[in-house]
Symmetry: C2
Subunit: 493 residues, 2 copies
Amino acid sequence: MSKKTKNFRPRARRPKGFEDRYGALANAENALIGAAAGVYHAHGFEPLSTCALEYADCLGKFLPDDDRPNEGVFAFTDDDQQWMALRYDLTAPLARFVAENYDPLPKPLRRFAVGPVWRNEKPGPGRFREFIQVDADTVGAPGPAADAEMIMLAADVMKAAGLANGEYVIRINNRKLLDAVLAGIGVADTDEGAIQRLRVLRAIDKLDRLGADAVAQLLGEGRKDASGDYTKGAGLDARGINAVLAFTQAGRAGLEATLSALDPLMGASDTGKDGMDELRAIAETVQACGYDDGRAMIDPSIVRGLGYYTGPVFEADLRIETKNEKGEPVRFGSAGGGGRYDDLIARFRGQPVPATGFSFGVSRFAAALHALGRLGEEAHGPVVILALEADQMTSYFAMANELRAANIRAEVYMGGSGMKAQMKYADKRNAPAVVIVGEDERASGEVTVKNLNLGKQLSGQIKDNKEWREGRPAQTSGARQALVNMVREALNR
Amino acid sequence: MSKKTKNFRPRARRPKGFEDRYGALANAENALIGAAAGVYHAHGFEPLSTCALEYADCLGKFLPDDDRPNEGVFAFTDDDQQWMALRYDLTAPLARFVAENYDPLPKPLRRFAVGPVWRNEKPGPGRFREFIQVDADTVGAPGPAADAEMIMLAADVMKAAGLANGEYVIRINNRKLLDAVLAGIGVADTDEGAIQRLRVLRAIDKLDRLGADAVAQLLGEGRKDASGDYTKGAGLDARGINAVLAFTQAGRAGLEATLSALDPLMGASDTGKDGMDELRAIAETVQACGYDDGRAMIDPSIVRGLGYYTGPVFEADLRIETKNEKGEPVRFGSAGGGGRYDDLIARFRGQPVPATGFSFGVSRFAAALHALGRLGEEAHGPVVILALEADQMTSYFAMANELRAANIRAEVYMGGSGMKAQMKYADKRNAPAVVIVGEDERASGEVTVKNLNLGKQLSGQIKDNKEWREGRPAQTSGARQALVNMVREALNR
């Protein structure tokens, strides 16, 4: 390559559903990850990074999207002909990790994790095939207090991300309640019934996005969407559809009122009773800790899409309006979710290992917070030292070093262009000031500091070009030794 | 899954060459990433996260490992039958990003990036197929000052990671010098010559690991390794082999001495003269900025394995002995490398975009620093509130909250076991103290704080079991309101 020009010129493009994050957007992601990591660390969680590729049988088939080959994952065969897949979440790899290292690990295991996950979704607008998750899980924790803690932790992360009470809510439900409703309308405990149950879960999971009418179709025969794609339904009859929809609509204001509204829907089902007991215990702890002030509520319409949840499920919702790619106001919806998955580690070990956790979808959530002006934008860019004489680079580096030693972000211009382009660059970088040492300054042992913020401000006031040039109101010169003070002054004005 | 026990039970295992990092090791990685990000941010670099999957033609074929299908990457076809691959570094995706977003980006573009990369290496001991890199690059920077800055930045990151002068060195070379040597011994500027040149680069890149004799074989006919695998050589004759080895051994103490030793090896080659001019300019800047105090040196044996470098190349070496998996002392070697790649963006744009950068191999480097006791280990774990009465979880949560509000890391025990197992758990978590509120304490409005650090210390001194139990020297009880003060006292003893 260094010696030959190849004729082939690839087109620079990303695969569909994959995104880059640069500058403020990447800062927003990092800030959100930092906020979550801080909350989890303070609560005694330890970091874990598992590998991105796993053997497919270790991940299992729990994704809601079953219309794709390999159940919605990116998969291929390794040298030894075993199927490998990119992880679709951080929970399935945690289960593999715990099963692989069971004995030496502390029990319960409290771990948090950050990293990209991949879903082989059908490419389409707003469908991301790669996103960052940040998760916390407690493995080996059988009681509802561990679920309640996950809910409160999720609320604490939302708060640490800069959201105020009322701007977010953690919704709580228990899948066992829905199981009781399904048993009541005759969904059998067979392989066929399991498929039907999964279709019901997926239908309910779309309530937010599609509304009750569309979900009724998905609970019944099926539904053709705007693009003409047909999704086969769960095959419930009218009575069944009504029972399921009534259940999802049983949410009331206040934890107690919702529990009372749900109770009569459970009939005599043991599963329903179990679910209600768990839900009540979780609700009571959340309430006693004061999170029923709007931060947490029971919502029977929350079921979550992943197949491995065994009881309690949670969802964190952003309640402030955000804007979509077209600038239209939209309800943001879910920023993450979680729940209890008592059977996931049992897949490997044969004996149950109760576990509960919560996962934030960092990429989408951070993008929303950034769009709302809550995260990511820095007040200004670095101070830029102009590079006006090629043989003076060392002295520019020395100036930048002095500024950094005084905790001022600074860089030397590294391009190959002249002064005008360098000023344009400083402007584009949102530099608060530039440092100018040309031949004249150098000869007299001086530096010039140009305050770009003040310059922008004044240029609105001073219309006379001549007055501007002669006065140079946003520019000061002084002795080279006074550099740090001069820049600091410019930053403070 | 929640209703059925499946007969299939997968074996919990990772694919070969993939690692998990838990606790202190993950902390070490995060600390190293934080240190690098801090240095790069202070120097005006902006964060960029590109996607993990790229179209294979966008990544290009620059990996040193050409013995594998798809040139050492993990690749598969997408829905549209285009080949996608997991990125093998963060530089090729940067080139794609710059080419895709050229006009609105500031030029030069200063970006740093952190993330996993994947290499489809032949699995084997110590061969990692996934590792984290942290990179900084300046795109649109033609001059040697930008290369010198990369070298100094790499040294600054080593320092920020906690290494002292003398414990690390950045080695500098220029590939053009080797090109001049190769031209001198008759390696032609043809496709065949290019393959020969690549084989020479790969052979030299193994000097550290295999030594001069093995490299001489790889420069000549070829070499059979201990496992019996045969690597075809570059096909140089004895004179050629000697010339290349003499070049790699031209390093001297001091930048000037090395430049003087290299000069006569360049003959009349224009490429050699270019390379020497660049190397001299870089060396002079590095020297003028004071980094010739052992932090930076010229070493002609550094060539780096990636195919896209066009001139200056750098390598960061850890100079302290580390231990391998068997606990044997080993020379750690390269913690990262970089160089100038003026043609990589030209692949897309057709016109050159000069660029230079540096990449740290975080996973391996952090593991070494952790093994050396430099990074990752926290002084202690969280304070653990024992959960002795199932109906008192809320009061335990309240205590943990109070401690965290006082900036004390704390958690409530979340398992389902009794007091003895809870104490064992606290021990395993390296908790500095446990908080005990049993029925008696609760009745009298008291809490007991057990100082585990002090307990360990004293248990070495007090041999009499009875004296120990009666005296409870590492345990204090007091009013519930005094909780935070009591724990703080335990932490300070």
